[in-house]
C-alpha cells in the first residue's frame, strides 16, 4: 500500500485510458505522455497497461509501506527516495517505510511512477484511469489528496526477477535505452499531419503554422495545450458543426490561437481542425512547460505511420531485452 502524504499539484491514477466509450460522450483519459507511462511499467515488470501515477509539475510525497519495485519516468521533477536522488528511467527497490518525494520541476512537466503490480484501484468502464470530467476511475474520480491510500496489485514473476537481480548486483540495473527515450529537449519540433479543415485556412495561416514558434500558455491542462503566437485565420466564414476530434488534433478557435487536444479532450469539438500532432511526438507536447516554445513541421501519412510502427517495434524489443536481461 502507498500512503499519500502530500498530493502535489495534480497527481492522478492513469492506465492507457478508456477505449470504446467516446461514443457515449466519455473521454479516453489516460496518460498525457503515453511513452513514459508504458516504459515505466515495462521497467518494473508490469503490463504496459497497468495503472501508474501521473504527477504534474509539483510531484507528491508518497509513503511506501511494503518493499516494492518502482520506476519513475517522464519529466525530471526532482524525484528522491529517502532524500537520495532517484535515477529516472530505471527500476529501483524501495524498502518498506521509504518515502518517495519530488522537489521541483527541472525539465518537463509530467512524471510517471510505476510500481510493480500496478496501482490497483477498481476499474470503471474498463479502465483505472481518472476521468476528472465524469468523476470516475482512479481514486473516487478525482486527483489524489493527502491521506489517500493506494492499493498495489500483485507483482509479476518478472518483477520478482528484476528485484532479485538488482539486490544481487546493483550494477546490473537496466535503464531504458537511449533510442527509446523521448527527445524532450528545448523548443521541440512537433511533426503534424494536415487536418480536415486545413484547406479552409488562408495560405498565410497555413504557412505560419510551420514557420513561427508557438508558446505554451499557462491555460493548458489535460484537455488541451493552448498555444500563443501567430493568429491563424480562416478564408472567409465557416461554421463547423460539432465534429469528432482525436488526441493530437490542432483546433483553432475564433481567437486564431491553436489548441492541441490531449488525453482529456472532449469527444466532439466545434472548431476547425487545421492539423494533428503525430502520435510519436505527443509526449513532447505533454512535457512542454508553460512559457516554453515549440514548432510544427508537416509530414505525410506514410512518415507518421512508419514512425508509429517503429516506436511500437522499439517498445517490443525493449520489453524482450528486459526479459532476457533479468531472466
Amino acid at each position: 500500500m502507498i500512503r499519500v502524504a502530500r498530493a502535489g499539484l495534480l497527481t492522478t491514477v492513469q492506465d492507457l485510458g478508456r477505449t470504446g466509450m467516446q461514443r457515449h460522450g466519455i473521454i479516453g483519459a489516460g496518460p498525457m505522455d503515453a511513452a513514459a507511462h508504458r516504459i515505466a511499467n515495462l521497467l518494473v515488470g508490469n503490463d504496459p497497461g497497468a495503472a501508474t501515477l501521473e504527477a504534474t509539475m509539483i510531484g507528491p510525497v508518497l509513503e511506501i509501506d511494503a518493499d516494492v519495485l518502482l520506476a519513475v519516468t517522464g519529466a525530471d521533477l526532482g524525484a528522491s527516495l529517502d532524500d537520495r536522488t532517484l535515477p529516472l528511467w530505471c527500476p529501483v527497490v524501495a524498502p518498506r517505510g521509504s518515502v518517495l518525494a519530488f522537489s521541483s520541476a527541472r525539465a518537463g512537466c509530467r512524471a510517471y511512477v510505476a510500481i510493480a503490480g500496478g496501482i490497483d484501484v477498481p476499474a470503471v468502464l474498463g479502465s483505472r484511469s481518472t476521468d476528472l470530467i465524469a468523476g470516475i476511475g482512479g481514486v473516487e474520480g478525482r486527483a489524489l489528496t493527502a491521506g489517500d491510500t493506494l492499493p498495489i496489485g500483485a507483482a509479476s514473476q518478472a518483477a520478482g526477477g528484476i528485484r532479485d537481480r538488482i539486490r544481487a548486483a546493483p550494477d546490473a540495473v537496466r535503464s531504458a535505452g537511449r533510442s527509446l527515450l523521448p527527445r524532450y529537449g528545448r523548443e521541440p519540433v512537433l511533426r503534424i499531419l494536415r487536418g480536415p479543415e486545413h484547406e479552409r485556412f488562408t495560405a498565410e495561416s497555413r504557412r505560419l503554422l510551420c514557420a513561427e514558434p508557438f508558446e505554451v500558455s499557462a491555460q493548458s491542462n489535460r484537455m488541451g495545450i493552448r498555444l500563443t503566437g501567430a493568429a491563424l485565420r480562416l478564408e472567409g466564414a465557416y461554421d463547423l458543426v460539432s465534429s469528432p476530434v482525436s488526441t493530437g488534433t490542432i483546433q483553432v478557435p475564433p481567437s486564431g490561437e491553436p489548441i492541441v487536444l490531449m488525453a482529456d479532450h472532449q469527444t466532439v469539438g466545434g472548431y476547425p481542425r487545421i492539423g494533428s500532432v503525430i502520435t510519436v511526438d505527443q509526449p513532447l507536447i505533454a512535457q512542454a512547460a508553460p512559457g516554453s516554445r515549440l514548432r510544427f513541421r508537416e509530414v505525410d501519412m506514410p512518415e507518421a505511420q512508419s514512425l508509429y510502427l517503429e516506436r511500437e517495434r522499439d517498445l517490443r524489443i525493449f520489453a524482450e531485452a528486459l526479459r532476457f536481461h533479468y531472466s
Binding site: 477505449t19 470504446g20 466509450m21 467516446q22 461514443r23 457515449h24 460522450g25 466519455i26 470503471v124 468502464l125 470530467i133 465524469a134 468523476g135 470516475i136 499531419l193 494536415r194 487536418g195 480536415p196 458543426v241 460539432s242 465534429s243 469528432p244 476530434v245 482525436s246 488526441t247 493530437g248 488534433t249 472532449q266 469527444t267 466532439v268 481542425r273 494533428s276 500532432v277 503525430i278 502520435t279 501519412m301 506514410p302 507518421a304 505511420q305 508509429y308 510502427l309 511500437e312
Partner: protein, 232 residues
C-alpha cells in the same frame, strides 16, 4: 463505386491524425444525413473490426479510431488498409429508418427553482409559461449526437418558436438533470457543469450511468419525449 446521387455519393474519407479517420456523410444538420450517420454507426459497431478502438458518430460524419499496428500488414499503409476495410463495411449500408429508434420518456419538472429561465424564454418567445411547457413537452425529439459531456444528447426537433439565444453570461454551475434551450437546441445536462443554456426545468432521470454498460441512457437515433411532472 456508388451510383451518382445515391445516398452515399457524398461519402468522403479523410485522415484525423495518424490513429483515426473521418467518414464524412453530409455537411449539414439534417434528417437525411443523420439517417446515414446512424446506419454507418450501426454497421461499424456491429462489424466489430479488430484494431478499431472506437466509433464516434457526430452530426455529419463518424470518426473511426484505430490501432495502426493492427492494420500494418504486408502491403499498404495502415491508413489505406483501415480505409479500405471501413469502406467495405459502409458499401452495404442503407439510410437508417427513423422509426427504428427507441422512444424514451424523460419526466421533467418545468419552471420554479428547477427552471429559473422559463420566464425569460416565455418573454423572449412571446408565449406564456404554460405554452412554453406545452410546446416543449408536446414535441418528439431525436438524439443526433452524444458528446460534449458523458451521455449528453444533442437533440433535433425543437420547435423554432421556442428558440432562445444562450445566456449572455454562463452559470458557473448548472445542476445535473437541468433541461435547457440554446438557440435551436434543447438538451439535458447529465452532470453539474458550467453552462450557458436557458434552464426551463429539471429531471430526476440520470443520463450518465457509470455503473452500467452502456453507461449512457441515450444513444443516437433515440426519440425523446419530455413528460411534465409536478416535482423532481
Amino acid at each position: 463505386m456508388h451510383a451518382a446521387g445515391g445516398p452515399l455519393s457524398r461519402m468522403r474519407v479523410v485522415p484525423l491524425g495518424d490513429t483515426a479517420l473521418l467518414v464524412e456523410l453530409g455537411d449539414g444538420i439534417d434528417a437525411a444525413t443523420h439517417a446515414l450517420v446512424r446506419a454507418a454507426f450501426d454497421a461499424l459497431s456491429a462489424a466489430g473490426l479488430p484494431g478499431v478502438r472506437d466509433v464516434v458518430p457526430a452530426y455529419t460524419g463518424i470518426a473511426v479510431h484505430y490501432d495502426p499496428l493492427a492494420f500494418a500488414g504486408v502491403g499498404p499503409l495502415p491508413y489505406d488498409a483501415a480505409r479500405r476495410t471501413i469502406l467495405d463495411v459502409l458499401g452495404r449500408i442503407r439510410p437508417a429508418d427513423a422509426a427504428s429508434g427507441r422512444t424514451v420518456e424523460i419526466p421533467v419538472h418545468y419552471g420554479g427553482a428547477d427552471g429559473p429561465d422559463i420566464e425569460h424564454v416565455a418573454h423572449h418567445t412571446g408565449l406564456s409559461v404554460d405554452e412554453v411547457i406545452a410546446l416543449h413537452a408536446g414535441t418528439e425529439y431525436t438524439v443526433y449526437v452524444i458528446g460534449f459531456a458523458p451521455g449528453f444528447p444533442f437533440l433535433a426537433g425543437l420547435p423554432p418558436r421556442l428558440a432562445t439565444p444562450r445566456r449572455a453570461s454562463p452559470r458557473s454551475s448548472v445542476p445535473a438533470g437541468s433541461v435547457g434551450i440554446a438557440g435551436l437546441q434543447t438538451g439535458v445536462y447529465p452532470l453539474a457543469t458550467p453552462g450557458g443554456w436557458n434552464l426551463i426545468g429539471r429531471t430526476a432521470q440520470r443520463l450518465f450511468l457509470p455503473e452500467r454498460d452502456p453507461p449512457a441512457l441515450l444513444r443516437i437515433g433515440d426519440r425523446i419525449r419530455f413528460v411534465p411532472v409536478s416535482g423532481v
